[in-house]
């Protein structure tokens, strides 16, 4: 375990940017604001790259670099350091976070250029990068939790960025409260970890699990894993706590791209990847993860079909894709999950940026029914968007194909997976391809259905927005080529084509998950099925939204109850409202407020303590009467009592 | 042992009281001489006037047979005990004054002082500080404003000058390196540079200059007799005293004069030391051997000679200098004697350091 003494710079630069913009931003001119923010995050990215290459210099088996900054908590047997950890997993993650974050910072310059709270936006964004890098680099779970809460805070602040709008402020609150429910589980997990492992350091925990893993109680490990996964369902929008993510689209679109697509929502996946050994020791927990993930992937995808808001579609798509990642984690294909995390970061960020570009051009309109035919107005946006769509649909050789295919294959091949999971994966892939192309066709093809006054202003976005999109588009194409599965690699005569998995291998090496062996032909067949499914989805979309544009309405009418169910997102929000929120509201109103707060806290607690103090002082004032001799008398009385006690005792 | 102590006490008290009695006459006679008058010579017994020495007896008689008038409102007890404080403190102080070199009687060394104390100088100050109680209590007990003012004045003056006194004497303590008065006197018999007696006045001239006014002020004698003054506060704290109680105050004052003279002699004029006279005889261009009893007698006589000279000197000061004003008195005490006393300490310390290397 070697030291790397400049790692703290990665969170440090955005923190400085946040402090400058947060404290003085109101007085600063806009160019200064975005230069400060961008320089901060690009510096972090540079440091991350340097650190990555330093990591590569180390022998693969020993790629753990730490930066012990400061001993934070030291009490009894517990020592918690502010200590940063760089291993292949966090290296990948930090590169994605700072890289995508940097691109989105650039994009934001164009997207937010006439917002009155420019400085606030960039301050929050820097704070987010700071928190996220803390989360990623943390070497113990408490520090990770600090970052975890920090990104939650930034998410809340940025969703409710335009807080003048009641609905957007509500969305922010919803996200925050939903996350709090998850955090509750997360904290329980941390405490239980402390009880079981007596340490919270990842490296230490891994050591314990490697050498004494068998002696630990499986129930306890399962409980820890489930508690932590509850936290992950909150942060990473899984069933049952996914409901906040679609509403989170109330925030500025670059925020959706950065926080609610590329980075923050993947924190749960990253956390499971970090604690892969723990999960490997808790098969039940992994099964739960896989099951929840499969359900999430499928249901979110079905909900995306009927959405008309361009960002909502992408939001459900994100939930669905996160489901894929968790599915990979659940079946033990950790590297595949992280791989998908990375490729997803590229193409989903690009999709959001593209949609942002569209919204920007449409003067804020997000309803796809008012769009159409935008291809000729904004070609760069169209082509980059199409690239990302192909990537998410899993069409080779785009990035999404490699990662998604690996997940689908792993879900079949893993001893922890099975054919059901595989089927869900494939069906979801078909639906994904369908709704994504529905989105593309409704937005960019066909006739322009936008209102007249909007139509005149449709224009391609400025270079500051398109360049990041182009970069992300390139990454969406080639990003997957680092993780080409061996069978395809053999086709091109490349040995060890899956560099990515090999790079991550030391991290996951000790989690022994068994994968069944199948012949290459089987693998090829499965690949063909998933690609075929994707193509099928595209074809359906093409048929319904280009050829027979009248058909969707008819189908919707024909299966009206189903359509309505999907359109209303299975009434989950309503169910939650009646099942949880309303009762809690009533309990809060009647019991917590009217009774507990008014009578117990105000009456007994606040006023009662004041009254008791007044009552006591009424008695004590005869003692505290300003007469020095009475004080001396009480003093002597005390001495007498103490001496008497000592004599008698 | 007890017998010797009692004899010494009787001797000292007798001498002191005799001196005090004589002083009542000396006071008047000396003023007459100074002012070129004939003075106190009226009393005659069988036609013998004896320079007016019989005045002592008549004074005493007068004081004893006068009406001892005690005003109605005074605090009787305190009024009664107040004069005792200065009187007894003055008498007690003399206990540590050596009036001759230790003598050998029958193989036993007898100190010619009532008590040889390790911290004799502290004793001297401690006992003399009690004298302050007299004026304060007298002034307060009299229940009369002039008496009270006088008492306050006297007390403030004495408290202030006690500090001046203490500070000025520290130089002497440092030079002789002891608090034992007998030892101080013994050390004064040594010679400085081979010819100058190591008397206090020679080794600590500044201390002497500070000590002299301070001790006169402590004694409330002219020119520092501010507690009384016919034009301002009548007779000060003994306004309400008469007859022998008043006489006690005066007797105390005269005893104090004697004691002050003795203290001055002891600390600054070599006490019983006769210059160049050592235990085996004179050391003056050769050794002149003398018998031991002669040396003892010479020393006792030397002490008495110096003492009487001191008394004469103090009386001469009394009749020579004009009175101070009260604020001048306080200024002298706090702003001149005290700082110079501190300077003296510093200078003495430096010189001792230089000599001792």
């Amino acid at each position: 375990m070697n030291n790397i003494y400049y790692l703290w710079l990665i969170p440090f630069f955005p923190l400085v940017g946040f402090i400058i913009n947060g404290l003085f931003g109101k007085k600063l001119p806009k160019p200064v604001i975005h230069w400060v923010a961008n320089v901060a995050v690009w510096s972090s990215f540079t440091v991350a790259v340097i650190a990555f290459f330093d990591l590569l210099k180390v022998v693969p088996g020993q790629r753990i670099l730490v930066d012990p900054v400061y001993r934070w908590i030291f009490t009894g047997g517990l020592a918690i350091d502010i200590k940063f950890l760089l291993d292949p997993l966090s290296a990948v993650m930090i590169l994605v976070v700072t890289g995508v974050g940097a691109l989105i910072h650039v994009y934001s310059i164009g997207y937010m250029h006439d917002d009155p709270s420019y400085y606030r936006y960039f301050a929050y964004l820097n704070l987010f990068i700071f928190s996220m890098s803390i989360l990623v680099l943390a070497s113990n779970i408490v520090l990770m939790f600090v970052g975890w809460e920090g990104v939650g805070l930034c998410s809340y602040l940025l969703i409710g960025f335009w807080f003048e709008d009641e609905e957007k402020a509500y969305a922010g609150r919803k996200a925050f409260i939903t996350n709090r429910i998850g955090d509750f589980g997360f904290i329980l997990g941390i405490l239980l970890m402390l009880v079981i492992f007596k340490t919270l350091d990842f490296v230490e925990i891994n050591k314990i699990l490697i050498y004494h893993g068998e002696t630990l109680s499986v129930t306890a490990l399962t409980l820890i894993a489930i508690f932590l996964f509850i936290g992950a369902t909150g942060k990473s929008a899984q069933i049952p706590l996914y409901v906040w993510l679609p509403d989170a689209m109330a925030g500025p679109t670059p925020v959706s791209a950065l926080i609610h697509a590329a980075t923050m929502v993947t924190a749960g996946v990253y956390m499971i990847g970090r604690l892969n050994l723990l999960y490997a020791h808790a098969p039940v927990a992994m099964a739960i993860v896989a099951a929840v993930a499969g359900a999430t992937a499928f249901f979110a995808a079905t909900m995306a079909i009927t959405q008309n808001d361009i960002k909502k579609v992408l939001a459900y798509s994100t939930v669905s894709q996160l489901g894929y990642m968790f599915m990979a984690m659940g079946v033990g294909a950790f590297a595949a999950g992280i791989f998908h995390l990375m490729t997803h970061a590229f193409f989903k960020a690009l999709l959001f940026l593209g949609s942002g570009s569209v919204i920007h051009a449409m003067s804020g309109i997000q309803d796809m029914r008012q769009m159409g035919g935008l291809k000729k107005y904004m070609p760069v946006t169209y082509w980059t968007f199409l690239t990302a769509t192909l990537a998410i649909s899993g069409i080779p050789p785009f990035a999404g194909f490699f990662s998604k295919d690996e997940i689908i294959w792993s879900s079949f091949a893993s001893s922890r997976g099975g054919v059901v999971l595989w089927a869900i994966g494939v069906i979801t892939a078909i639906i994904t391809a369908f709704y994504m192309f529905r989105l593309v066709y409704m937005t960019f093809h066909g006739e322009n259905r936008s209102p007249e006054e909007v139509k005149h202003h449709i224009h391609e976005s400025p270079a500051v927005m398109t360049i990041p999109m182009v970069i992300l588009a390139i990454l969406s194409v080639i990003g997957g080529w680092v993780g080409v599965s061996p069978v395809i690699g053999k086709l091109f005569g490349v040995e060890n084509s899956n560099i990515f998995e090999e790079f991550l291998h030391p991290v996951f090496a000790h989690a022994h998950i068994h994968f069944h062996h199948y012949s290459e032909a089987t693998e090829w067949w499965f690949m063909a099925i998933s690609v075929g499914g994707a193509l099928l989805g595209i074809l359906i979309a093409f048929y319904l939204y280009i050829k027979r544009t009248d058909l969707p309405r008819k189908i919707a009418l024909k299966v009206w109850p189903l359509y309505k169910l999907l359109f209303n997102k299975y009434y989950v929000d309503e169910i939650y409202y009646y099942l949880f929120i309303h009762p809690i509201y009533l309990i809060s109103l009647l019991f917590l407020w009217r009774f507990t707060d008014v009578y117990v806290i105000d009456g007994v607690g606040v006023n009662g303590s004041a009254k008791s103090v007044r009552f006591t002082s009424r008695i004590l004032k005869y003692w505290q009467n300003g007469d020095a001799q009475v004080y001396i008398f009480s003093f002597v009385l005390g001495v007498v009592l103490v001496l008497g006690y000592l004599l008698l005792a | 042992m007890f017998l010797i102590v009692i004899i010494k006490i009787l001797f000292v008290v007798g001498v002191l009281l005799t001196f005090a009695a004589l002083l009542t006459w000396v006071e008047r006679k000396q003023s007459a001489v100074t002012q070129d008058r004939v003075g106190a010579n009226r009393v005659q017994i069988l036609g013998i006037r004896a320079l007016g020495l019989f005045h002592i007896i008549t004074d005493a008689l007068k004081m004893f047979i006068k009406e001892d008038y005690v005003p109605e409102k005074v605090n009787k007890f305190l009024h009664f005990i107040a004069p005792l404080f200065p009187f007894f403190s003055a008498l007690a102080v003399f206990a540590v004054i050596p009036f001759g070199s230790p003598i050998k009687i029958g193989g036993r060394i007898v100190e010619l002082s009532i008590a040889r104390l390790d911290s004799g100088l502290i004793y001297l100050f401690a006992l003399s500080s009690l004298a302050v109680l007299g004026p304060v209590i007298a002034g307060w007990a009299s229940h009369e404003k002039y008496a009270l003012l006088g008492g306050m004045r006297a007390a403030a003056q004495m408290i202030s000058y006690e500090i001046a006194l203490g500070v000025s004497i520290i130089g002497v303590i440092m030079v002789y390196n002891t608090l034992d008065i007998s030892l101080i006197v013994e050390k004064q018999g040594e010679l400085l540079f081979g010819f100058l007696p190591k008397w206090g006045i020679f080794v600590q001239p500044l201390a002497f200059l500070l000590f002299l006014p301070a001790i006169i002020a402590e004694n409330k004698r002219i020119p520092f007799d501010l507690p009384e003054g016919e034009s301002e506060i009548v007779a000060g704290y003994f306004t309400e005293y008469s007859a022998m109680r008043w006489g006690m105050f005066f007797l105390a004052e005269f005893v104090e004069v004697a004691v002050v003279a003795a203290v001055l002699t002891t600390l600054f004029f070599g006490g019983w030391q006769f210059p160049y006279l050592f235990d085996d005889g004179f050391h003056f261009f050769g050794v002149w051997h003398l018998p031991y009893w002669l040396i003892v007698i010479i020393r006792i006589l030397t002490f008495f000679a110096k003492w009487i000279f001191g008394i004469w000197f103090l009386q001469q000061v009394r009749w020579t200098f004009p009175r101070f004003r009260y604020d001048q008195l306080m200024k002298l005490g706090w702003k001149i004697i005290l700082p110079w006393g501190l300077i003296n300490i510093a200078l003495t310390a430096i010189v001792i350091m230089l000599i001792n290397g």
């Binding site: 009467n625 300003g626 007469d627 020095a628 001799q629 008398f633 002597v636 | -």
Partner: protein, 99 residues
């Protein structure tokens, strides 16, 4: 040396001092009672200095006497100031702490 007798003497003096402070309403007598308490302590110090032939007790008694002198100096200054502002030295009427 009757050390036990001296200790009991010190205790009695201490109690007299404590009682004086608590009972008497005249601040001068209270002050003197406090001094009495200090003296009781000094007596014990000196007794034990003698008993164990250790000058420490005497040194501490010396310091304690100095402390008493300082205390009396300040205390009397306060009394003079109180007398000037409140025209009384009776603690019954001095109750600034109350207001």
């Amino acid at each position: 040396m009757p050390y036990n007798g001296i200790l009991i003497m010190a205790v009695i003096l201490f109690i007299i001092g404590i009682t004086g402070v608590m009972v008497r309403r005249n601040i001068f007598i209270m002050l003197m009672s406090i001094e009495l308490i200090l003296n009781a302590a000094n007596l014990v110090f000196i007794a034990f200095a003698r008993a164990f032939a250790d000058p420490a007790g005497q040194v501490i008694a010396l310091l304690s006497i100095t402390l008493a002198a300082a205390e009396v100096g300040v205390g009397l200054g306060i009394f003079v100031a109180i007398r000037r502002t409140h025209n009384t030295v009776n603690v019954d009427e001095i109750n600034l702490l109350k207001h």
